[in-house]
Structures are given as C-alpha cells and as structure tokens.
C-alpha cells in the first residue's frame, strides 16, 4: 500500500528534476567524479606523492606521459674508479640490469650520476609491480650484495666479455608512491598495472614545485575532499534530523528549550569555534589515536557538528506539521509507541527535505574543509586535498615564476564540484518541494 501511495509523488518529483537540464548534468558529473575518486588508483595517473628527480614546477603539456614510477626501489652502486671505456660501462650496466631482473622480476632502468664519461654512481631503478611489497628493500639489499659478490673478484665486478669494474653497493632505498593503502586500493593498483603496464598519462595540468603531477594530485585529493565532506555531512544529517525530530515530535517545553539552544548556537561565529576546537584536539592527538579516532575522524566530526543547525530547524518544522497529521494521530490512538511512530510514520516523510538540505550542506562542509586545510588546520600533508593544493598554489605564486597552472588546477576541480552540488541542490529543491521558492 505504501509503495503505491508514495510512488506517484516520487515519480512526479523525478519528472520535475529531469526537466532541469543543469541539475541532471550536475548529478551525472558528480556521479562520474565520485566514481573517479573511488577508482583513482585504477586510472593510469602519475603517483600523487613521488617526487621527481629534477623537481620543478612545469607548465601543462598535452602528452601521453612517461613510465609510472610509483613503486620504485633503487639500488645505488658507487664506482670506485672511473670506467676505462664507455663500452665497458655499457656492458657492466647490461649485466647489472640482468642480475637485478633475475632477482626481482622488475623492470630495471639505469640512471647515472656524474659526467657521462666518468660517472661516480650508478643507480638501478626498479619499477615494481605493486603486489611486490616495496618494504622488502632491506631483504633485497642483502640478496643483491650476495649476487654481486659472486660475480666479482678482488679488483671488482667481472664484466661479461672481459674487463673489471671496481664498484660497491651504496644502498637500497624504496619509495612508496601511494602511502598506506587498504586492500581494495592495493587490488585496484594491481589491476591498473595489468591493464596499463607502466604507462601513465602526462602532466596535463603541469607539475607542482616538487615535480609532482598536478592532475594526479587533484584526482587523489578529491578522495580526501569528497570523503571528508560526505562523512561530515552524514554527521550533520544524523545530529540535525535526530535533534529536529525530537524537538518537533514532543513539542511543548522541550521544543522551546531545544530550539532556543539552536538560536543561541546560531549567533556564534562557527568557523572560529571549529578552529579553536581543532587546535585543542591537536593536544590530545595520541590519546585520540589510542581510542581509534584519527585526526581525520575528529576533523569531520567537528565539521559535521558545526553544520547541523539549519537541518534541525527545517526538520523540526516538518515534524511539527506531521505530528498533527491524521495518520500519525491514528497510529498513536491505535497504541503505537513513540519510537515506532517516529520510525515508521515520521522519518520516511522527511527523506525529501533531508535530501535537499544534504545537497546544500555538502558544499558548505566542503568549503569548511578546504578553508581549514587552506589555513593549515585540516588535512595534513602528505595527504592531499583540494584546500591544500590551493594553499600550495598561492604559496608558490611569486613575481619571479608565475605558476598559473597550480592555481588553475585545484580551482577547476573544486569549482566544478561545488558548482555542480549547488545546481543539484537547487534542482532537487525545486523538484521535491515545489512550495519552496528558489530562495525559500
């Protein structure tokens, strides 16, 4: 019965919503960017964290891009004397690369340090398949040392084809391009390597001052920005709906007191309080971590707790009206408990208005997140979020090198998402509640 009763208004709302082309496009755009954020490790992007060897900000270029250096183990070898000939060096490099491949099944690349004729150091950079754990570097160092010793005499490495080259193992370092990853992300990266190999897209939006691909950083930043916004909005919805429903349903003195409190909270400049609380929480970082509350969790809870006021007011007004409705009174007369009535008869009727205000809360929370990250109080590097990227960009602006693309990249991502959310919110409001005006 309820299915048939609610299908018609829902379908009407959907038809109204569909007729607004902007809102529909926004919905599609948001779905696509949400999916891209979720599947970011699957996309053939550069690593958001690995610093380039020659780190500098480079302007955007339309190119397909070089090999993917995300999981890199480098074996550094010190040359004790300059090689007698370039040809000998080349043969030695080939032999070393073959040994490295034999040990690791990775794709080695030779990088030289020092002048080409007399290099002082060789680096075997191994591009790893992600299913291999780069933390195995220490183990690799021992194995490579043994292998090297077995191929060397007292005066150095026996180069296949004649000659020796005196060199010593200087160290093995592993670089991890993604930071700690969950199981899903690891699987996604493995799949990415199966699909795209070591191919990655070029720096379409340029690179930042440390040589990191800006496009990749924006996409990976969207994971943080979007998930913080969603989590905070969820907190705000739960608190707002709970508070508003309670006040509206029981009414009377409880309602008066609860709404008075909301009025009081309304006149407090919230960003100030949020900043205050976040710095205070910083003092208790280790205790919170022991309780399993990371900095990020604390961050979005605080954000959510500071944006529920409007939601509470709107929900209360709606519940106040619902409480007087015939079917609610009938349910009470028939002996239904308060909890049952709230759950079965009241909450479902709030879905529409909650959806509308959720889409309006999301951009507000995203703004807060980016504000705070911008001020250095939110997300912390090496994690990236759009606020951090924008802050980096403004820091990098100076009259000597105007890296305009650093400003443009995060602006595009943040602007497009916030714009889409706003348009979607307006469209939903028009569709779900035609009584409310555009600015109702």
């Amino acid at each position: 019965m309820s299915a048939r009763g609610s299908a018609s208004p829902a379908r009407q709302a959907w038809r109204r919503f569909r007729s607004s082309r902007g809102a529909l496009a926004s919905l599609l755009f948001l779905a696509a960017s949400g999916l891209a954020a979720l599947l970011a490790p699957l996309l053939p992007l550069a690593s958001p964290r690995v610093l380039a060897l020659a780190g500098e900000a480079r302007a955007p270029r339309l190119e397909l891009g070089g090999p993917h250096w995300a999981h890199r183990v480098s074996i550094r070898l010190r040359l004790n004397e300059p090689p007698r000939s370039g040809e000998l060096l080349a043969r030695a490099e080939r032999a070393l690369a073959a040994s490295a491949r034999e040990l690791t099944a990775a794709t080695p690349r030779i990088l030289r340090h020092g002048p080409r004729a007399a290099p002082s150091e060789l680096e075997l950079a191994l591009l790893y398949r992600p299913e291999l754990d780069p933390a195995r570097g220490a183990d690799l160092e021992a194995r490579f040392a043994t292998l090297l010793a077995s191929q060397s005499g007292p005066d150095g490495l026996h180069v296949p084809g004649g000659g020796t080259l005196a060199l010593a193992l200087a160290g093995v370092t592993a670089q991890d391009g993604y930071g700690p990853l969950g199981a899903l992300d690891r699987a996604l990266i493995a799949l990415r390597h199966r699909l795209f190999g070591f191919f990655q897209l070029g720096p379409w939006l340029g690179t930042d001052a440390k040589g990191r691909d800006l496009f990749a950083r924006c996409v990976f930043g969207s994971r943080v920005s979007l998930s913080v916004a969603l989590a905070a909005a969820l907190v705000s919805v739960v608190v707002g709906v709970g508070y508003g429903a309670l006040a509206g349903y029981f009414g009377g003195r409880l309602d008066a007191v609860m709404m008075r409190l909301v009025d009081v909270l309304y006149s407090i400049p919230f960003l100030f309080v949020v900043i205050f609380v976040i710095t205070l929480l910083g003092e208790y970082r280790t205790e919170l971590a022991r309780l399993g509350i990371g900095r990020m969790t604390a961050f979005f809870v605080v954000l959510g707790l500071s944006t529920w006021l409007t939601m509470a007011r709107v929900v209360r007004a709606q519940v106040l009206a619902l409480r007087q409705a015939e079917f609610v009174r009938a349910a009470r007369v028939l002996g239904a408990s308060h909890g049952f009535v709230l759950r079965v008869h009241v909450l479902p009727h709030l879905l529409g208005i909650v959806a509308v205000y959720l889409t309006l809360t999301l951009p507000a929370v995203m703004l807060y997140e980016s504000f705070l990250s911008f001020l250095g109080l939110g997300v912390e590097p090496p994690q990236v979020s759009w606020g951090i990227l924008a802050s980096d960009a403004l820091d990098a602006l100076n009259p000597l090198s105007v890296a305009w693309w650093l400003v443009l990249g995060p602006a595009l991502f943040l602007g497009a998402t916030l714009l889409a959310l706003n348009v979607l919110g307006d469209g939903l409001r028009d569709a779900l509640d035609p009584r409310l005006g555009r600015n109702g």
Partner: protein, 329 residues
C-alpha cells in the same frame, strides 16, 4: 520594540555566558598550553610565567578573575584584598586579559590595532556586495528570461560556489601578475583594499543578486504594482518606489547572516593578502596556543554578529510593518 530589544539583550547575555564558559573550560582544561612549545623552558622560568598569568590558581578562581565579578589584582575590590579602585575586573571591565604570545600586549590592545583594519575590509566588502548584487539582481528580474538573466544567474551560482581563496588566486593571477594593476599583498592605501574586499564580498553579492531577483519577481506580479502601472506611472518610478521597497526585505534580513559570513571569510582573505587584521591574529593565535587572544576574538565577533542580527531584525520592521518583532525575537 523595547520589549523585543530587552528580550534580545537577555538572550545575548546567555549566549555570551555560554561562549565564555565553554571556551574557558576547554582552554584551561587542555594540557600543554602556551609555554610547552618547541623548547622546554627552565622550570623556574615556567613557574614564574604561570604565576604571571595566574595559571597556578585553581580553575574557579581563574574563571572568576577572567569574567571579573571578583578581581584579585591590586586595584580589585576591598573584599578580596584590593584597594577598590576597580570594583569589577576581567570581562565585566572590558578587559580581555594579556596575550600569551605577544607578552607586552593585552588582547585589548591587539584588537584595538587590528579591528579597524578588519572593519574597513568588511565594510568595503559589504559595499561591493550591495553595489554589485543589487543592480545585477534588478537587471535580471527586469530582463527575466533573456540571455542576460541566464548569464547573471549563472554568475551568481558561480559566485556562491567558488571559495574565496580560489577566486583570490585567479584574480591575483590576472590583476597582479597578468596586468600588473594592483599590488599582490600588503596594507595601506585603497589599492591594497580593492582586491581583498572584492574577493570577500563576491559570494555575498551573488546572494544579494539572487534575493533581489526573487523578491522583485514576486512583487512585480502583485496587484498594487499593477495598479501603479495602470495609473500610468513611468516604469522606473514603479520599480524604484513601489516594487523595490518591498522586494528588498529579504535582502535586508540577509545582511545579518552576510555580515557574519564576511567576518568568517575575512579569516581566509586576510591570510591570502597578508592583511594585519583580526582574522590573521586569530589564526595565528590558534596555531600558537595563545588562548586568551583566540577567545577574545571569538567573543568580540559573537558580540558583533549578535548586535548586527538584532539591528537587522529591527530594520526589517521599518520596511515591512507586517512583521511583528515579538515573533522574530
């Protein structure tokens, strides 16, 4: 009206007390504090610093001293051993206490230096918001349905959606580095003012434009406007004298929240443009654990927001006699 103002004042005191007490307890309960930063101080030095800021007192005594009904300083009430020249101390005497970080300054002195800067910035932002928002809104309403209306509405949505620092970055690129018309940062003359206040005012201009357009569209269909037109009044006169007056009501009501928003947004804008206003001090004080300064700023802004909201609600009745203040209060 008097009743309304009295009731507002009562709730104002409750709000203020709540803010003071909660943040005071949070501030003092928190471990660490201003002197436990990078380098460990010599115990004797830390002891004397704590004594200077009364951090060695029990919490209730610190609270009473901060709020001020009892003042243990030399000028305090005779009851607690002072000479009685200052019957009330602390907040009751408008004394926000000393800053922990800028040790030669009181919070009051810092605010006295920076508040005019922020106020000037905020006022100019408000001017931008109205000077840009009202004409755009009126234009969009009068030319409803045309391409101009569409463009203005899109612009308004963009203005609301884009965060301050993104707009700031783009405008700095264009006007500072591209065209070289304006200085990149600093404070002093009008040139320094222009870009920050525009950035700060833009989202509010967008809201004002939306509200004006919506308000005008609603009013333009009303009977009295039609009557005025039918009387043969020139369209401009109908618009200005009859329609606009009623349509502006939502805009006036919005000015309260807008001012609050401008105060908040000023945190970011001041940081971007290196403006020595209250926002910069607040962010620094939060990062430096200079709690008295952070609390002082929060208090001052709470007072400002509350006062402006009250003012706006009172002004709304002057524009629209249908609103009764008792309900709004």
């Amino acid at each position: 009206m008097t009743l309304f103002l009295l009731r507002r004042a009562g709730w104002f005191l409750v709000t203020l007390w709540l803010v003071v007490s909660v943040s005071f307890v949070l501030m003092r309960a928190v471990r660490g504090g201003p002197f436990s930063s990078e380098r460990a101080l010599h115990p004797a030095v830390e002891q004397s610093l704590r004594a200077r800021y009364h951090l060695d007192w029990p919490l209730w005594k610190q609270y009473l001293q901060y709020v001020g009904p009892l003042d243990w300083s030399a000028e305090g009430h005779a009851l607690v051993g002072g000479d009685g020249t200052r019957p009330f101390g602390g907040l009751l005497a408008l004394d926000l206490g000393p800053s922990f970080k800028y040790r030669d300054f009181t919070v009051g002195e810092i605010l006295a230096q920076s508040l005019p800067v922020s106020a000037a910035l905020g006022a100019l932002a408000l001017v931008w918001a109205l000077a840009l928002g009202l004409p755009c809104g009126i234009l969009a309403a009068v030319r409803r349905g045309t391409r101009l209306d569409l463009a203005l509405r899109l612009g308004a949505t963009l203005g609301i959606a884009l965060p301050n620092f993104v707009v700031a970055g783009l405008l700095v690129l264009v006007f500072v580095f591209g065209l070289g018309w304006l200085p990149p940062a600093g404070w002093g003359d009008l040139q320094h003012f222009l870009l920050p206040s525009f950035v700060l005012g833009l989202p509010f201009a967008a809201y004002v434009a939306r509200l004006t357009r919506a308000g005008l569209l609603e009013v333009l269909n009303q009977d009295y406007v039609r009557t005025a037109r039918a009387k043969g009044l020139p369209p401009r006169l109908v618009l200005v004298r009859h329609a606009l007056r009623a349509a502006l009501l939502p805009v006036v009501t919005y000015l309260g929240p807008a001012t609050a928003g401008i105060l908040t947004g000023s945190l970011v804008v001041e940081k971007i443009f290196a403006i020595p206003g209250v926002g910069t001090h607040f962010v620094n004080s939060a990062l430096n654990r200079d709690y008295p300064l952070a609390m002082g700023v929060t208090l001052v802004y709470t007072v400002l927001v509350y006062a402006l909201n009250t003012l706006v609600d009172a002004a709304a009745t002057l524009l629209d006699p249908r609103i009764r203040l008792e309900e709004a209060g």
